[in-house]
């Protein structure tokens, strides 16, 4: 009883409770730099002193300094994921890589000259990077209402948004398959096509650019 009384007294004199965990980070928190190479770069360039006393977000559980970690791949896994089933998404991604590797190795052995062989890229991660780079749009259209009419106005997009669009289109194209083919099979083809700057996703990007060009008369409707 005495103890309880003491506790009550204590709580009376401590009206504010220190909240440690927010549901969301405050905007002044910076993203963690979890790769050894990036950290070294920061130290060498001297920029580390700028962020030395800034609060840093905790690293996510898939952020790792492993040599196998790749930012684009981990983003792609997240775009493939449905209903939070990340293990499945990761499996699909690795299976896609395996298929790409198999296709490329087959091509490697079939090619007759050394020149052809040297041109082939066997690293599936590199192929993914190339595919995404080739699918990135420069512009997009946004609907803007002027005088009761909606105009499709072409606007330049940010780098981040263009990466997102490229990944989303690749995943969307890979999902459009018939019943007998699985996602990794289709995705491997889509990625290989896109890395050669051909295929449906690259065409989709070009179509968007054509739409922007057709609507270039409305470009000045954009408000800043």
């Amino acid at each position: 009883m005495l103890l309880l009384k003491n506790i009550l007294q204590l709580t009376k004199f401590s009206p504010t409770i220190l909240i440690k965990n927010y549901s969301q980070y405050a905007p002044h928190y910076i993203d963690p730099i979890f790769k050894k190479q990036e950290q070294d770069n920061l130290i060498q360039s001297g920029e580390v002193s700028k962020i030395a006393f800034l609060p840093i977000k905790a690293a996510r559980n898939n952020d790792t300094s492993s040599v196998f970690h790749d930012h684009r791949v981990s983003r792609m896994v997240n775009y493939i994921m449905k209903g939070g089933r990340k293990d499945l998404a990761r499996k699909l991604m690795s299976e896609t890589f395996e298929r790409i590797k198999r296709i490329q190795i087959e091509r490697y052995h079939k090619s007759k000259t050394d020149e052809e062989r040297s041109k082939l890229i066997l690293n599936p991660v590199q192929i993914l990077h190339m595919a995404i780079e080739n699918c990135r749009p420069v512009l997009m259209v946004t609907p803007i209402r002027r005088g009761g009419v909606k105009y499709q106005v072409p606007v330049p997009i940010s780098e981040k948004s263009s990466y997102y669009r490229a990944c989303k289109w690749l995943v969307e194209a890979s999902r459009e398959h018939d019943r007998k083919t699985h996602l990794p099979e289709k995705m491997a083809f889509e990625l290989l096509d896109a890395s050669n700057n051909t295929g449906r996703v690259v065409k989709r990007k070009q179509d968007l650019h054509r739409l922007c060009e057709a609507n270039r008369a409305y470009a000045h409707y954009r408000w800043n």
Partner: protein, 128 residues
């Protein structure tokens, strides 16, 4: 009054002139208070300039020439990207300035800043 009428007759070429109205018969009614308001409109500040329009049109021309192959118009894309980044930074600065977080001195104030000052320090009008 009499003189005015006859003079007007002279001016109008010997036609009968209308008599001027009696000011006392039409008293002035002040519907709104006869002083300036404590705010300014924001019309002047809203300059309707679209950023990187020039770069956009150059890019469109280049793309049409090269049949939408981006590899052949890299230079134009880079120019647009640069202009877009500058515009984004400018937009952020403008927003900060208008929000009142940045205190600016001098004669050139935005309508928002001016309104804020007018609200805090209203104009003192000498009344009779």
């Amino acid at each position: 009054m009499r003189l005015t009428r006859s003079l007007l007759r002279y001016v109008r070429g010997n036609k009968p002139a209308r008599a001027p109205q009696n000011e006392n018969k039409v008293p002035f009614q002040a519907i709104l208070p006869l002083k300036l308001r404590e705010r300014v409109s924001g019309k002047v500040d809203s300059v309707d300039t679209v950023p990187c329009l020039q770069e956009l049109s150059i890019l469109f021309a280049a793309m049409k020439d090269h049949d939408f192959d981006e590899k052949l118009c890299k230079k134009e894309i880079e120019a647009l990207k640069k202009a877009h980044e500058i515009a984004e930074v400018q937009k952020k600065e403008d927003k900060a300035r208008n929000s009142g977080l940045v205190v600016s001195t001098g004669r050139k104030l935005t309508s928002l800043q001016l309104n804020r000052y007018l609200k805090r320090f209203p104009l003192k009008v000498q009344e009779k």
